[in-house]
C-alpha cells in the first residue's frame, strides 16, 4: 500500500523533480565555471584571499534555490490533491488518514533530501578541486540553513494547500515566511553555526503541521 501511495506521489512530482534537478545542475556548472574563470583571471592567491580571508561566498546562487525547490515540489504534490477536492479520494484509501498525510509529506521531504544531498555532493566535488577541505566544511555549514529553509518552505506549502480557509492559509503563509526569512542570511560563512541546531528543532515542528490542517480538512471545519 505504501509503495502504491509513493508511486502516486512520484507521478505528481516527477516533472517538478526533474526540472529542479536540472536547474540545480545548471547552477552547479555555473559555479564551477566561475571558480575556474576567477582563478585564471584573478590568479589563485587573490581569489583565495577573497574567499578565505574576506569570506566571499562563491555559491551565493544557492541561497534561495532550496526555497524555490520546496515551493515547486509542494505545489506539484498538493495542487492536484486540492484541485476538485481529490484529497477526499486519497483520505478514503484504507489507511489511517494521519498516516496517509504523513507518508505524503515524507515522500516530498525525501525528494527534497535527494535533491539537496545531490547538491551537497556535487558542490563539494567542485569546491574540493579548488580549495582545501576546510572551505568545503564551511560551505556545508553555510548552506545548511538555506536547505533547512527549503524543507520548511515545502512543509508550509503542503500545510497551506490542505487548509480550506483562505484566512488561515494567509496566517500560515505569514508565519512561514517570517520563519523562513530568518534562515536566508548570506553575508558571511557559517553565521548560523551556533544556532543551527535550534533552528533545526524548531523547523521540525512545521513538518507535522499538515496533521493540523489535515484534521480541519477532514472535519470540514469552515472557520
Amino acid at each position: 500500500m505504501i509503495r502504491a501511495l509513493f508511486f502516486k506521489e512520484w507521478l505528481k512530482i516527477k516533472w517538478a523533480f526533474i526540472s529542479m534537478a536540472g536547474l540545480i545542475l545548471l547552477i552547479l556548472i555555473k559555479i564551477g565555471l566561475n571558480l575556474s574563470y576567477y582563478i585564471r583571471i584573478l590568479e589563485a592567491k587573490t581569489y583565495w584571499y577573497q574567499v578565505i580571508i574576506m569570506g566571499g561566498i562563491f555559491f551565493r546562487e544557492f541561497t534561495y534555490i532550496p526555497v524555490l525547490v520546496g515551493l515547486v515540489i509542494g505545489f506539484s504534490q498538493f495542487m492536484p490533491e486540492i484541485n476538485a477536492d481529490r484529497l477526499k479520494l486519497t483520505l478514503h484509501l484504507p489507511l489511517k488518514e494521519n498516516a496517509i498525510l504523513l507518508y505524503m509529506v515524507l515522500y516530498g521531504t525525501a525528494a527534497l533530501l535527494a535533491l539537496f544531498l545531490g547538491t551537497y555532493i556535487l558542490l563539494s566535488l567542485i569546491v574540493i578541486s579548488f580549495f582545501p577541505f576546510e572551505v568545503v566544511k564551511a560551505m556545508w555549514v553555510t548552506m545548511a540553513p538555506w536547505m533547512l529553509a527549503g524543507f520548511v518552505t515545502y512543509w508550509v506549502t503542503s500545510m497551506t494547500f490542505v487548509e480550506r480557509i483562505w484566512l488561515k492559509r494567509g496566517l500560515i503563509i505569514v508565519l512561514g515566511v517570517l520563519f523562513i526569512q530568518t534562515l536566508l542570511n548570506n553575508y558571511a560563512f557559517e553565521i548560523y553555526k551556533n544556532s543551527l541546531i535550534y533552528f533545526f528543532i524548531l523547523s521540525l515542528l512545521w513538518s507535522i503541521g499538515i496533521l493540523y490542517t489535515g484534521y480541519r480538512f477532514k472535519k470540514g471545519v469552515m472557520k
Partner: protein
C-alpha cells in the same frame, strides 16, 4: 434485515444557514437508496458526513456499525466512493490508476475494470485528464466495481453525462449490485433515471426533510389532480395537510396530495374553490418529485 447505514438526527448548518434538521434514515443491506433533492438541499453534505469529511452539528451516521467520523481502514475498504463529477487522479493513465488502487483492496477484480475500459476504445496509456466526461465516468465506475465494495456511495453520478452514458452507468451498476447483493447509496439531480433503479428514497428540501419512503409507496400514494378554474379568478389556496403543493396556470389548477380523490374534492369544496373537470393524472417519479418540491 441488517442495516448498512444508519443516520440518526443529523443536523447541519453552514455558518448560520440551516441545511437540514433531524435527518433520519437507514439503508438496508442489498438495497438501493436514493437521496433526492434540488441543488443546495444537502445531498453532498450528507455524503460528506457519511464519508467522515464533515462533522455534523448534531447527530451521527453509522456505517457497518462504525461512527462515520472515525472509520477504520477495514471499513473504508468496504466502501466504494464516487465523487461528484467522477473525480479521479487525472494525472494517471488507465493502466496506472488500476495498478495504484489494486494495492489497497484485497478483493480487487481487475477484470471488472478492464471489461469496462475495453468498451471505451481508449489507449491504456491515455491519461484520464485527456478523456471526455463520459469516459471518465466509466473509469470511476470501473474502479469501484473492481474494488468490490459492500457499499457504494455515489455522489451525483449523472453530472455532465449524456443520456447514453447515464444509461450505461446505471445498467452496469444495477446488474452488478443485483448479482452481488451490494448496497448502493446514490444521489442525482436527474430524477427520471432513478425511477426504475432506486427502492428507498429520502427527499430533501431547503432546510428540511420532505419525505422518507419507498419509490413504490411514493408513486402510489402521491397524486396529481388537474382541474379547470375560471380564468382570472382570485383563488386563495394554501399548502396544508391535504394540499401538499399546487400550481395555477391561466385556467388550470394542479393540486398535489397524498389524500384520495374524494378527500381532495371535499377539501376544495370546503374552501369554495370553483373548479370543474377534476382529473387524476398519472405521474413519473420526476413529476412526483417536482410536484412535491415545486419548480423553484
Amino acid at each position: 434485515m441488517e442495516n448498512v447505514v444508519e443516520c440518526v438526527n443529523l443536523t447541519h448548518y453552514y455558518g448560520k444557514r440551516l441545511i437540514y434538521e433531524n435527518l433520519n434514515f437507514v439503508i438496508r443491506k442489498g438495497s438501493i437508496f436514493g437521496l433526492l433533492g434540488k441543488n443546495g438541499t444537502g445531498k453532498t453534505t450528507t455524503i460528506n458526513i457519511l464519508n467522515g469529511y464533515l462533522k455534523p452539528k448534531a447527530g451521527h451516521c453509522y456505517i457497518f456499525g462504525e461512527d462515520s467520523q472515525n472509520l477504520s481502514p477495514q471499513t473504508k475498504a468496504r466502501i466504494g466512493f464516487l465523487m461528484e463529477g467522477h473525480i479521479q487522479y487525472n494525472f494517471m493513465t488507465i493502466t496506472q490508476i488500476e495498478k495504484f488502487y489494486s494495492a489497497f483492496y484485497p478483493r480487487w477484480k481487475k477484470e471488472a475494470y478492464y471489461e469496462l475500459m475495453e468498451k471505451l476504445e481508449v489507449d491504456p496509456e491515455q491519461k484520464i485528464a485527456t478523456m471526455s466526461c463520459g469516459q471518465r465516468s466509466q473509469v470511476a465506475l470501473g474502479l469501484i466495481l473492481a474494488q468490490d465494495p459492500d457499499l457504494m456511495v455515489l455522489d451525483d453520478y449523472s453530472m455532465g453525462l449524456d443520456a447514453g452514458y447515464r444509461r450505461l452507468f446505471l445498467d452496469y451498476l444495477g446488474a452488478y449490485a443485483k448479482d452481488n447483493n451490494k448496497t448502493i447509496f446514490i444521489t442525482s439531480h436527474i430524477i427520471q433515471d432513478l425511477e426504475n433503479f432506486v427502492e428507498d428514497i429520502v427527499i430533501l428540501d431547503y432546510r428540511s426533510v420532505l419525505l422518507s419512503t419507498t419509490v413504490k409507496d411514493f408513486k402510489e400514494n402521491f397524486k396529481q389532480f388537474t382541474m379547470k378554474i375560471p380564468e382570472g379568478s382570485k383563488i386563495s389556496l394554501q399548502k396544508d395537510d391535504v394540499i401538499r403543493n399546487f400550481e395555477i396556470l391561466k385556467d388550470r389548477l394542479t393540486v398535489y396530495s397524498f389524500k384520495s380523490r374524494q378527500e381532495v374534492e371535499n377539501h376544495l369544496k370546503a374552501l369554495n374553490i370553483p373548479y370543474r373537470d377534476l382529473k387524476q393524472v398519472p405521474m413519473s417519479l420526476e413529476d412526483a418529485f417536482i410536484g412535491l418540491t415545486g419548480k423553484y
